[in-house]
Amino acid sequence: MREITLSQAVNEALAEEMRRDERVFIIGEDVAEAGTPFKVLAGLVEEFGTGRVVDTPIAEPGFMGIAVGAAMTGTRPVVDLMFGDFIYLIMDQLCNQAAKTHYMSGGKLNVPLVLRTNLGATRRSAAQHSQSLQALVAHIPGLKVAMPSSAYEAKGLMKTAIRDDNPVVIFEDKLMYQDKAPVPEEEYLIPFGEANIKREGTDITLIGTSSMVQVAEKAAEILAREGIEAEVIDPRTIVPLDEATLLKSVRKTSRAIVIDEGHQSYGVTAEIASRINEKAFYHLDAPVLRMGAMDVPVPFSPALEDVTVPTPEGVAENARRLMSGEMIHAA
């Protein structure tokens, strides 16, 4: 199968959906001729014109609000939010307006909108361009949240998101834009709420989101050399969450580590770990561990930044401790 980058995968997904449905349009800062600072959208304006690849002023709440109203009245906007950190600026439009409109109207109004943005530290971009804020939006009923872990997922999830009648937030890892993965030439969609078992194993379940799937896979390789067989699962969407697949795995392995790049406290890892505790408690041989980003603003210095995010070695080390029983009576 051919291999393309995550950036190309997103671009293809958008182009295919814009060809299929002329109500789909892109709106955001420097999305047209510039194709975004990450060049993900390069070439789209040539095919679809500035009427459908719409450059905006630097006014995140404004263009987010416009997208909400456009979605409510019969178009299907894909909003480009240059950095995930800017979600704070659009919180009212996203969480008070987009997320609640369908419910508040008793099901009469829909907001078929995709918010494309990114996450991920270690790009030496410091505290306001490095955050992974998926927990913030996953907390809000009415929003769906997708977290592609490779070019393959990025394309399939994007196409599903565009066809969904609800507001969907997609977080792409900005460090993965140039990473290649096999992506079929034929059209495919990845349904929401279906986790992907990336690697089978019997001893411990590693649940990772976005680029943390690779971290989990690398940890599994390290562990395999030591005779520990880890199962690696990618939920692909955290809302809706494929609980059944996660629980089935944990019931088999009896141990789990949940890895996500958002801050650990009150985060995605906490939510998934707690669901496992509630629903698979008697199958567990050890506490379910959370591994999120350190609870500090992301520092600039590489010496500091690198210790704030989960690493394969860190995951492997925690897995060993769980396997040895060391953490059963941990304080």
């Binding site: 349009f25 009427g51 404004g62 416009i66 409510m72 009245t73 439009q93 008070n96 009648d165």
Partner: protein
């Protein structure tokens, strides 16, 4: 008043709609005072000529966005009493199946995209609705209602900028009732409100919001021009709210005098003024007007009775309409 319309039916319709709003509000206020309505509500009484003058210049397919003080816009855009009272009382047959209440009534069938409990929260939505009209090539115009208090929100300036750049068919209608909650407008708005729109190159008008014909005549012209791509436009409608900020705001003398209220009610009431004009122009007799008032009163009483006895939604609806494609979000 300027006599610009020649159609008797149109005049009588405007009168009736103003009376319907006033009557609706009198009944809503009574429901609150009798402790039969859950929560609080914001009365539109006194401002009727604004909503009616504007909405009578619109087609059913034209859109509006509304505010926390939204019953007037909703009635003026064509909503029925029964579904409105049911919504106010949280009943299943309400416009939003009781999920929205007073501050969130949406009536999509008449182009009302919904009231909004976030001050200024719908400015993006209205502008986005106009974006849809332009993108899909419909000739729909969108009117964005908001108060003088909402002019302090930054979102307004972000979306006016884009609306002006993209020549969107949107009319920003600022209902200046002199107060932002319990604070005089002079204390929260520096400079001129219309000049703010003019700074974006948007044609702006200040108009007597107690004169339904003046509002209607001007709006008709602007709507026609907006349909031809000459928008956006901005209106500042000088008006007054008769009740407190909400129904529970009874003792108001610390922020406005009884004399001031009396003056507006006795000398500038939009319904009394228009009624006088209808009679003096020979368009309707006092008897005909009284008959119309009685009919509206009866209509409202019946709707209130109906709503009081109507069913609440089944509790199983609580997790419905969170997502359009998932029947019960928590199942």
């Amino acid at each position: 008043m300027a006599k610009t319309k020649t159609n008797t039916e149109d005049y009588l319709q405007m009168y009736r709609q103003m009376v319907r709003i006033r009557t609706f509000e009198d009944n809503a206020n009574k429901l609150y005072l009798d402790a039969k309505m859950p929560g609080l509500t914001h009365m539109y009484s006194g401002e009727e000529a604004v909503a009616v003058g504007i909405c009578e210049a619109l087609k059913v397919t034209d859109k509006i966005t509304s505010t926390h003080r939204g019953h007037g816009h909703c009635v003026a855009k064509g909503a029925a009493f029964k579904e409105m009272f049911c919504e106010l009382l949280g009943k299943e047959e309400g416009y939003c199946r009781g999920k929205g209440g007073s501050m969130h009534i949406a009536d999509q069938s008449n182009g009302n995209l919904g009231a909004n409990a976030i001050v200024g929260g719908s400015m993006g939505i209205a502008t986005g609705s106009a974006f849809t009209a332009k993108m899909l090539g419909t000739d729909d115009v969108t009117v964005c209602f908001f108060g003088d208090g909402a002019t302090a929100q930054g979102l307004l300036y972000e979306v006016m900028n884009m609306a002006a750049l993209w020549k969107l068919p949107v009319i920003y209608a600022c209902e200046n009732n002199g107060y932002s909650e319990y604070t005089r407008t002079e204390e929260i708005a520096a400079g001129s409100i219309t000049a703010r729109a003019e700074a974006f190159g948007i044609e702006a008008h200040q108009v007597d919001g107690q004169d339904v014909l003046a509002v209607n005549t001007l709006t008709q012209k602007l709507v026609a021009r907006a349909r031809k791509g000459e928008g956006p436009f901005f209106l500042e409608l000088m008006t007054y709210r008769y009740h407190g900020h909400h129904v529970g705001d009874i003792n108001r003398e610390y922020y406005r005098t009884k004399d001031e209220e009396k003056d507006w009610k006795e000398n500038r009431d939009p319904i009394i003024r228009f009624r006088g004009w209808l009679v003096s122009e020979g368009i309707a007799s006092e008897d005909e007007i009284e008959a119309m008032n009685a009919e509206v009163r009866q209509d409202a009483e019946q709707a209130v009775d109906y709503a009081l006895n109507a069913k609440y939604p089944d509790v199983s609806e609580v997790d419905m309409h969170v997502y359009s494609d998932i029947k019960h979000a928590l199942a």
